[in-house]
């Protein structure tokens, strides 16, 4: 009887462990693969990729919105902070930051970006940051910056694409 109880407990504990381990691993693995893919099929790491509007034959991620124009920057802050420049627009704009396990740890809205003030400095904890720009601290060394612009409405696509070409991200060199 005691032996059966031990076996049952071992099975139960291991089941929970397997459940937890798989749920822990899935976001990490998917994020690593996603960042590798986005960098390879885009401008690389620490560089902004200006994406075309998503359509059924051009989908860079699951569940893309065809009503948004995306820019992506896969980042690695190992050697230096990152300067991110955003082309201001009047329509919907958000700049979201994701860490290496898919947490959306910061989102900046369009009203924070103007022609006079369009830069963000991204650092990891403990890293010296240059002054003169909005500061965002990443909880992980690697991650992704995703810029979304609304492209619904007549004539909005060329307007948003004109703003998008000003999007940039690059390591800050001293």
């Amino acid at each position: 009887m005691i032996r059966i109880a031990i076996f049952a407990v071992a099975l139960l504990v291991a089941t929970f462990a397997g459940w937890g381990a798989m749920n822990w691993a899935i976001p990490k693995v998917i994020m690593i693969k996603a960042m590798e893919g986005l960098a390879e099929r885009g401008a690389g790491v620490n560089a902004m990729t200006l994406r075309e509007p998503a359509d059924p034959y051009r989908q860079f991620v699951v569940r893309p919105s065809p009503d948004l124009l995306y820019s992506t920057c896969v980042y690695d802050l190992e050697s230096a902070p990152l300067r991110i420049s955003i082309g201001p627009t009047n329509g919907y704009l958000s700049v979201s930051f994701f860490d290496h396990i898919t947490n959306n740890y910061e989102t900046l809205t369009g009203d924070l970006f103007t022609p006079q003030r369009s830069d963000v400095i991204l650092v990891q904890k403990g890293q010296d940051a240059p002054s003169g720009a909005q500061l965002v601290t990443s909880p992980s060394t690697r991650g992704l910056v995703l810029v979304r612009r609304q492209i619904s409405g007549e004539g909005s696509l060329p307007v948003m694409q004109a703003a998008q070409v000003k999007d940039d991200c690059a390591s800050v060199t001293s």
Partner: protein, 202 residues
Amino acid sequence: MQKTILIALACVVAGLVIGAGAALVRSGQNQLGGDKPGAVVDGAWKTDFEIGSENASGALRARIARKGLFALKRTETVYYTRSIDAAGRDLDANCSYRLSGAGFPAEWWSITLYDEASYLAKNRDGAASINRDEVIADDEGWTAIVSASRPDEAVNWISTNGAQTFDLTLRLYRPHLDYLMSGEVSGFPTLERLSCGEGAAS
């Protein structure tokens, strides 16, 4: 004694496989629906307000990684997904539907159709979604036909071409969160099945 250890080890291995397998299957399912007020609207539109949050459970985080990577936090966007019609039947691309709605408690919204793999259905119809700025509406609200064939009349259309089963994702940008999370929200779009089969009415 040795036999007991071997059986215990077998139980551990079996448990790990069962747990990991269950997590893998669960994370591949689209269906959301947390237990917080407002997480399920009108019994069909489902979300989890912890999407994108550091507070998300491991299971939710795994599901979003597979089915909604790079989703935003609720303060910026809330994502509701619907995968059943008004009668509770799974959505089927061999059928046509009437989607009827009005405004939403948000600055801007869109409704997009995704296929069984969570991608935009493979077609060249240019009708994957509707949104607040482009939807044809009147004082009563709006109606969209969800079908494989383009409707004859000038109405909103979401194409099911290229999908087998599908779901609809409602994105609410800059949502009125207090209201959404009050649990008192209703009146999200209804989805009525019109017909099924070859040449389903549109």
